[in-house]
């Protein structure tokens, strides 16, 4: 007994001494499957350039990467006038190691530098786990190279106030018919604006967000249509007719109050803050806008006073169900002239994993480019849409110019500035 008491006291003292020691612990390795390939003591600086003012989600990834390479200093630099300046930056003394790139820059002379500086990320020697990303948003060039990989994806849909649906005993609609009925039901229950959206400008207007996925569904498997649309052949305007008619029908169903929508000043803050008022069951927006909701919860007095549960779901404009317009949002390229190319590639190898991409998407509030969308309840509704109803404009082959024709035509019809025929007749003449 006495001996046990003495030993216990001695152990307690030892424990006490141990407790006095440093509590520093190496952060537990967080990435499944990722194994560092370089010397962990490597010391260098890696710069990632982009157009974001803030990229805290990426900075978090820097921290996680530092668990493996503590001496690598990673920074994100905002480049002003990104799209126009990135080429100059890449050619200058301050060229980043990794930079944000866009697939729409393919084939455009003014962005040639941005594509030319990009390393071929499909090179097996780099050992990137591209299989974790949805294949329809991995866009190889014609020669088979892959200058960029998506780190976020984007889509169009609508924010849904789940508490209102629950309160009114309604279900989130999954078909066009249900959408119309839900809007009608809300209206009958006193909700003046069952569905709202930004309408003051064409970019991500309510009209585009609702009908663009529908339009892709109508031409996705029609190569000739795509070809004519891309060629801005005036006759291709007819391919827009079903979409424009659908838009007109939708607006005539009384789901949207144009006057109320017109009060939403912009397609980001104003959309979110209006939705947070809590009286709008459905608010169309893009994935970009969704990413700003979390931070703005604290800026909305209405939401602070009456917080509610919300998610982002596709807008069901078809009787068969909704379309999932799957688009790459932000894509990363590695500067092949990087002074720390090995470490830049190592960071990409670290980042391009389901776990890290999902983590970063979650932090940023954007949709993850990985095959698994279930991890984030905000976007989970898109993960259950069957593959036959998932489209990527790039995969379909529609050029930006062709898409602009649709967006302008839809906006013209949606706002009442044009008739459907006028809009179709104008095909090929619309600019940004």
């Amino acid at each position: 007994m006495k001996k046990a008491l003495c030993i216990l006291l001695a152990l307690l003292m030892l424990l006490g001494l141990t407790a006095c020691g440093s509590e520093e612990k190496k952060e537990e390795a967080a990435v499944e499957g990722y194994q560092p390939a370089l010397d962990s003591a490597t010391k260098c600086k890696i710069t990632v350039a982009g157009g974001y003012d803030n990229f805290e989600a990426l900075e978090t990834e820097f921290e996680r990467f530092n668990a493996y390479y503590p001496n690598v200093e990673l920074t994100f630099t905002k480049v002003d006038d990104y799209n126009n300046m990135i080429g100059t930056v890449l050619d200058g003394n301050d060229a980043p190691d990794i930079y944000v790139n866009y697939s729409w820059m393919y084939g455009r002379d003014q962005y040639k530098s941005s594509i030319d500086h990009a390393e071929n990320l499909a090179d097996p020697a780099l050992n990137l786990d591209l299989s974790c990303i949805r294949s329809n948003i991995i866009l190889n060039t014609d020669d088979g190279t892959l200058p960029m990989v998506p780190v976020f994806s984007n889509t169009y849909g609508m924010l849904v106030n789940n508490d209102l649906f629950e309160k009114e005993g309604l279900s989130v609609p999954t078909t066009y018919q249900e959408l119309v009925e839900v809007c009608k039901a809300f209206r009958e229950k006193g909700y003046e604006n069952p569905l709202m959206g930004f309408t003051n400008a064409e970019t991500t207007s309510l009209f585009t967000l609702t009908i663009y996925p529908f339009f892709c569904g109508t031409v996705a498997k029609d190569e000739e249509a795509v070809k004519k649309l891309n060629a801005l052949d005036p006759s291709a305007g007819e391919y827009m007719r079903p979409s424009l008619e659908k838009m007109a029908q939708f607006l005539s169903e009384g789901c949207v109050n144009p006057d109320a929508c017109a009060k939403i000043e912009n397609n980001y803050d104003a959309v979110i803050l209006r939705f947070f008022e809590g009286d709008v069951p459905m608010m169309t927006c893009s994935g970009d806008t969704v990413s700003g909701t979390k931070k703005r919860e604290s800026r909305s007095e209405a939401f602070i006073a009456n917080p509610f549960d919300y998610t982002f779901v596709p807008v069901p404009m078809s009787d068969e169900g909704a379309y999932f317009l799957d688009m790459p949002n932000l894509q990363f390229s590695v500067n092949k002239d990087s002074r720390n190319l090995d470490m830049a590639n190592e960071f990409m190898r670290f980042l391009i994993t389901s776990r890290e991409l999902n983590e970063m998407a979650q932090n940023k509030g954007l949709m993850s480019p990985t095959k698994d969308l279930s991890f984030n309840s905000m976007y989970a509704a898109f993960g259950v849409i069957p593959e036959s109803r998932v489209f990527s404009p790039e995969e379909i082959g529609l050029t930006d110019d062709a898409v602009i024709q649709l967006r302008q035509a839809v906006y013209g019809v949606g706002t009442g500035a044009m008739t459907i025929d006028e809009a179709i007749a104008g095909f090929g003449t619309y600019t940004r």
Partner: protein, 845 residues
């Protein structure tokens, strides 16, 4: 008690630790506060440095702007003017019209050597220029932006200028930008490394947007960065904003790693609401290493002390337990000892008292009284042995036993051994043999008394524990010793006695240990013999071994290295004599023949009586007779006496015979003498024994010994006895009187001295001196006598007769000047022997 000590120790240690930790924490906090203050001061210093730098850069821009404004010029002229100014290699200047946000750069566009046009149309920097004050009013620095000419992240020091339209000469508002790459600034704009290695600087504008951004600062806005990693609400965010943008101070916040950091802030004067931020991990300021080192050292020290004390206490405990156990055992041993003593003393005392009572009641019956007195003497002797043993073991165990080396004859020792053992050997009809082997050195120098004790104890045990009809064989052999000047004496006693069990053998050397055996218990013994023997052997530097088997017997072997005395009888040589040795034992024959040959005699051997007769006959026929015939008594066939008788019956053969016997020959003396034996000799044969016996028979020995029972030489001796005890005086006086010795008594030492001094010369043969006496003890009395001027007085033999029987007492007596020592109770035989020794010595001198 121990538990209390441990708990108290633990509490004290815990209290010390708590104190050290609290003190350390207090010190840490104090150091931490001072460090924060220091960091804040450094930040303010950096603000001055920054301000000076910014002012310097702004001043250059101001100079250009003033010149342009004072000397109306077109865009091209102004461009040419700035280009002609000395501009640092990495810097450039841009002139931009406010309306079109286009203009000229002093450095060409990257990749186009002759293109100096610049546009700020797509850079959100110059649409609103309200932040650019009038020239010289403030530092007008832009946020970090992308230089449209080369894509480098840059800062621009700005001034508003007025150019003139090249066509109309009308004034045109423009902005002059002195553009400096951020990279350039970052290399210069760092905290002093020796102060704070991990500190970083940032500069924010009035909204919190970074103008310059340190690595650990995240987001594009400091307050957004703060909110991302630190809990806040709108109210606290507003308070934080107001605090940081309006005053100098510091606060604690969490960085993107979740680490606590210190943010020092100070407004940049001469700017539009800008703030300089210093950022450093809190652990860099805590300076806690020393304190934790102190705590760690104290903890480790206490722990080591605790463990040391713990181990020491455990060890002490263990030793105390052992000591307690030993004390317990000792106490038990003492109890057992007293119990055994009580029993062992009471037993003979019972006999003495009981038999004395019987004798008193039967005074008329001479035979009964005689028998009682004989038994009383036996019991008394046993009691004396017991007391001697107890004293011995007591001295041995207390370490007080000291050796008193003397030169003595081993032959005497052996003889003594045989003499002592013979009565019981005879009584029990034990087959007893005593062999000596290789005994070259007869005189040895060691404590004879202790050696005797060892040999006697072992031999007496062997005889005691051997059943009647059994045998006891003793061998004493001399071998070469590894110790210089010594011989190795090996003493082996083998008996066919009852033997010992292994259990008993394990404890047989412990005092009062006796084998539990019905046969043993009827044998008297103190149970101290083996214990004393073992101790004595070890004291003499020897070894004792024992082999025993129950029912078969025991063999003890004692090996001792004993110094040989300087004095040896090496010159023993017989006159040339023919000796016939008759014995049926081959080894006896060989030993005797060898010894005789060594003495210079001619020895022949006969292995039986008949062979001896035949050889004597033949010798006689040859014209010579043997000078001496030595015949063993116990031979198979014709024994020694019969052989002597047959030879003696021939009147022609006048040969002296020595009869060999291992036993006391008193029983056969008459019969042997009648048969014709001339003398007796005892086995084993020592050289000196044979020498003296043969010389006696051949008439060459000048020594003539008195018969042992002839005390006529003592008649008329007058001895002074100093004895204070009346009974003792009476006893010794009476005992000496039995031998015709007269005595005078001195009641104490003083009287003794007076009596001898006043006595006529030669009136006393010697003095028997008691030691412990009143008035003057025996030692002082002896010294006084020895110091007398009267030569007769000073040389008179004095023998101690005292109950102080230890060897040191003996030595004390001898040192005081006495000539001998006799221990009480006195053995009259020893007293007579001592008187004769003294007498002979005086006669010789």
């Amino acid at each position: 008690m121990k538990r209390i000590v441990i708990i108290v120790n633990a509490i004290i240690m815990a209290a010390i630790l708590v104190f050290v930790v609290l003190y350390s924490q207090f010190e840490s906090k104090d150091t931490y506060s001072r460090q924060i203050e220091h960091f804040q001061n450094i930040t303010v210093t950096m603000e001055h440095v920054t301000e000076n730098y910014l002012e310097g850069e702004q001043r250059i821009c101001d100079v250009w702007a003033r010149y342009i404004n004072n000397n109306p010029m077109t865009m091209e002229e102004a461009h040419e003017f700035i280009c002609s100014s000395r501009v640092l290699e990495n810097t450039s200047a841009h002139l931009v019209y406010r309306d079109t946000l286009t203009g000229l750069s002093t450095r060409p566009k990257q990749g186009a050597a002759d293109d100096y046009t610049v546009t700020y149309q797509r850079i959100d920097l110059l649409e609103d220029v309200s932040w650019i004050n009038e020239i010289g009013e403030s530092i007008n620095v832009s946020r970090a932006y992308t230089n449209p000419m080369n894509g480098e992240q840059s800062l621009a020091f700005c001034d508003r200028v007025t150019l003139k339209d090249p066509d109309s000469s009308a004034p045109v508002e423009a902005i002059l930008l002195r553009v400096i790459p951020v990279l350039e600034l970052e290399q210069k704009w760092v905290f002093p490394q020796e102060e704070f290695a991990n500190a970083e600087l940032s500069m924010i504008d009035s909204k919190g947007d970074y103008i310059l951004k340190g690595y650990s600062f995240k987001n594009s806005n400091f307050f957004e960065f703060y909110k991302s990693y630190n809990p806040s609400d709108p109210a606290s965010s507003k308070a934080l904003f107001d605090k940081i943008t309006s005053a100098t101070g510091s606060l604690s916040m969490v960085n993107s790693h979740g680490e606590e950091c210190i943010l020092a802030y100070t407004p940049l004067t001469d700017s539009v609401g800008w703030t300089l931020l210093g950022f450093v991990p809190a652990k860099d300021l805590s300076g806690g290493i020393e304190n934790w080192l102190l705590v760690g050292t104290v903890s480790a020290g206490l722990l080591i002390l605790f463990l040391f004390d713990l181990l020491y206490m455990l060890n002490l405990n263990k030793r105390l337990q052992v000591t307690a156990k030993e004390a317990e055992n000792a106490n038990k041993a003492k109890t057992d000892f007293l119990s055994a003593m009580s029993h062992d003393i009471r037993t003979p005392m019972n006999a003495i008292i009981g038999l004395t009572t019987i004798a008193e009641n039967n005074l008329g019956d001479v035979a009964s009284t005689g028998e009682s007195i004989r038994k009383i003497r036996l019991a008394g002797n046993h009691l004396l042995t017991l007391i001697n043993d107890i004293l011995d073991i007591s001295k041995v165990e207390s370490g007080k036993l000291k050796l008193t080396p003397l030169t003595f004859s081993i032959e005497e020792t052996v003889e003594n051994l045989i003499n002592i053992s013979q009565p019981m050997v005879k009584e029990k009809n034990i087959d007893f043999t005593f062999w000596i082997n290789g005994m070259e050195k007869e005189y040895l120098h060691t404590d004879q008394l202790r050696l005797n004790q060892i040999y006697i104890n072992i031999l007496s045990n062997a005889v005691k524990y051997t059943e009647p009809g059994g045998s006891v064989n003793v061998e004493l052999r001399e071998e070469e010793s590894a110790v210089p000047g010594c011989i190795q004496l090996t003493y082996v006693v083998a008996d066919t006695g009852i033997g010992m069990s292994p259990e008993y053998m394990a404890t047989m050397y412990q005092p009062f240990s006796r084998q539990i055996d019905s046969r043993v218990n009827k044998i008297q013994g103190t149970g101290l013999g083996l214990a004393i023997t073992k101790q004595m052997v070890e004291l003499l530097g020897g070894t004792i071994e024992c082999q025993s088997e129950e029912g078969k017997g025991t063999t003890f072997t004692v090996v001792l290295d004993i110094p040989a005395a300087d004095r040896q009888r090496d010159n023993l040589r017989l006159e040339p004599v023919d000796v016939l040795v008759v014995d049926d034992d081959e080894s006896t024959l060989t030993t005797a023949a060898d010894t005789l040959e060594a003495l210079g005699a001619s020895a022949q051997q006969a292995r039986s009586g008949a062979e001896a007769i035949s050889m004597i006959e033949q010798k006689h026929l040859s014209g010579r007779d043997y000078d001496v015939v030595i015949v063993d008594w116990k031979m198979s066939g014709t024994d020694g006496i019969e052989t002597i008788r047959r030879i003696s019956s021939n009147a022609e053969w006048k040969i002296p015979f020595l009869l060999i016997s291992a036993y006391d020959w008193s029983d056969i003396e008459d019969k042997a003498k009648e048969a014709g034996a001339t003398g007796f000799i005892r086995k084993p044969f020592f050289r000196s024994t044979l020498y003296e016996k043969i010389n006696d028979l051949t008439g060459n020995n000048s020594d003539s010994r008195e018969p042992e029972d002839d005390y006529s030489d003592l008649q008329g001796l007058h001895i002074l006895i100093a004895e204070d005890n009346d009974i003792n005086w009476e006893i010794i006086s009476a005992m000496l009187g039995m031998f015709g010795i007269t005595t005078d008594r001195a009641e104490n030492g003083r009287v003794c001295v007076d009596m001898i001094n006043s006595a006529a010369e030669g009136s006393y043969e010697m003095i028997f001196m008691d030691v412990q006496m009143p008035e003057m003890n025996g030692l002082d009395a002896t010294r006084a006598i020895r110091s007398s001027e009267n030569p007769w007085v000073s040389s008179i033999p004095i023998v101690a007769m005292t109950a102080d029987a230890f060897s040191e007492n003996v030595a004390e007596c001898l040192n005081a000047g006495m000539n001998g020592h006799i221990a009480k109770p006195v053995d009259i035989k020893l007293v007579i022997k001592e008187i004769r020794r003294i007498k002979e010595r005086r006669e010789q001198s």
